[in-house]
Amino acid sequence: MSSIPPGSRFPVPGSAQNQRDSLLSVRDLIKHYQSGGLFGRAAPPVRAVDGVSFEVAPGETLALVGESGCGKSSVGRTILRLQEPTSGQALFEGVDVFSLDRAALRALRRRMQIIFQDPYSSLNPRMTVGSAIAEGIEIHHLAPRQEIPARVSALLEEVGLDPAYARRYPHEFSGGQRQRIGIARALAVQPAFIVCDEPVSALDVSVQAQVLNLLSDLQQHRGLSYLFIAHDLAVVRQIAHRIAVMYLGRIVEEGATGQLLSNPRHPYTVALLSAVPEPDPGARRSRIVLGGDLPSPSNPPPGCPFHTRCFHPLKNERCRTEVPLLRPIQGTVAACHYAESTPQPEQAGAA
């Protein structure tokens, strides 16, 4: 039983025409983790993802942004069926992902890939880089055996690595190089869609910039779609066409990148933006420092999930009792009862 009223099946902006064009369409996705108590006593489930809907168009990057525990990674993993959803629907190229059997799922994974924050943990340390990249090509019979080495070389070059690296092992590489290997491995099966789960968070800034540029270039050359999961809004601004901000398992605001960053309507988006440390002492904006901690996703507050930390001057009883639905407002969709008058980053400090 979800705490979301059925009325929350909100219309995504432009969804009428997007429905036809979208590569991936996710509806009311719910993922609850049932943590059985140690002695069989059932604990309340962790509502990691609590009714999430979005669309990704071909060639588009949608960023899922939020802090740890907001459910963004669970969304990515559930869509790929690396974890089974509790309920909801995901249509990828018109196929209902959650109803596929094992064989069909395998075929689907050729079209949907994932890259992780720490590529090292997803690379087999005893397998050469070349075999790791070739694995997908072999499994999906994408090239005759004798052509595979040439494919691997081409992929390594495409991600900016020396083709001679194919004979080496993962431990011989730096973090940035491993992330490039992870990307080459994902690209090997010619996917249309890649879930990028915090792909640059563990990298130093100079390497992070290299990988971000690489991901943009690959998107242009190959027409890829990305679901880009990240916590850093400045990074996301660099790569995303649209941004969905998550809080406690739900999307609280979604919109085009420029629109959402310049005119955020949800107070949580405003707080996230104001917390980004900008490398410019002159730009020292008034900071909103949120009080308190993230509530537990196994016991989310009633009403608006953000009300316990919200600084909106109009916050009132309604916020504590009535769940705000996502609704279009000045260019984005936001789930706030008072989104029309949300203080903007420059005013909010005074509020």
Partner: protein, 335 residues
Amino acid sequence: MSRVLEVENLKISFPGGDHTRVYPVDGVSFQLERGQTLALVGESGCGKSLTSLALLQLVPPPGRIETGSVIRLGDTDVLALQGEALRRIRGRRIGMIFQDPMTSLNPVFTVEDQIVEGILAHFKMARAKARERALQLLQEVGIPDPEQRLKAYPHQLSGGMRQRVMIAIALAAEPEILVADEPTTALDVTVQAQILEVLDRLRTSRGMAVLLITHDLGIVAGRADRVAVMYAGQIIEETSTGRLFANPSHPYTQGLFASVPRITGPLKRLNPIRGSVPAPAAWPSGCRFRPRCPKAFDKSELEPPLLPVEPDHLMRCWLAEQQGAGTRQEPGTKS
């Protein structure tokens, strides 16, 4: 301003195989004034964390601090201290907090046990009195409901709360200097903002000096008075925060700025430094940034000293000798 710490020509070496030694920290000098925040900025492997560990003689073996290195804490020659004398400055005069508080907190003791232990290690007082002090400290670092939190075990706290507890433990000994090694790197941005506020407040209210180790220029901009940028074991640029951001001069610093994605201003493709930081054994002769530097020239084959760019602004690059080299505005900085 009074000087609380002086580091001169700090060299740390590790065995490099074949009876050679490598120098991940190679001739680092800086000073810290009372009430000031100095940021040591650099990417992984630049030697910033090792530098901070050396301040308390905590360099892990087989690493060692080379003779000729000097660390002066007021009148105390830190590197001459041993045993009890060394233990008396650890925590008491220089406190440290690290990136991951969970590794520094003991999981089987409550917050109260750990703070009180910290207080009693440095001050003679009754346990009840120490508990009262612990309560004050938790309030000072902005922990809500401190009475309850005293009874909590570390795993019952969020990451931000744990880091506050770590800061409270570090403060228990009332150190003159707080070394904060990537104190917010593992935290979410909204929590990071909270913790940085706490550190700022404490610095002002206690007149503590802070050595802030970070890779994030954004944190530096809001919080530090001075900045030393490190690359390959050396400080390569040092000046006030205002000057560094107005006029980043070393090609490495400029490259870092061009690599950082911004949340405001025009959106443009990032212009990263090519390659990555080499391992200490592979540092080139001459200027260590030379193989990655877009501005390298003949003279870069000689090792540059720190040279003045403008008053109170030094960089380790021969370009400083050329007139006007340091006054050009780089894209991405405020003009």
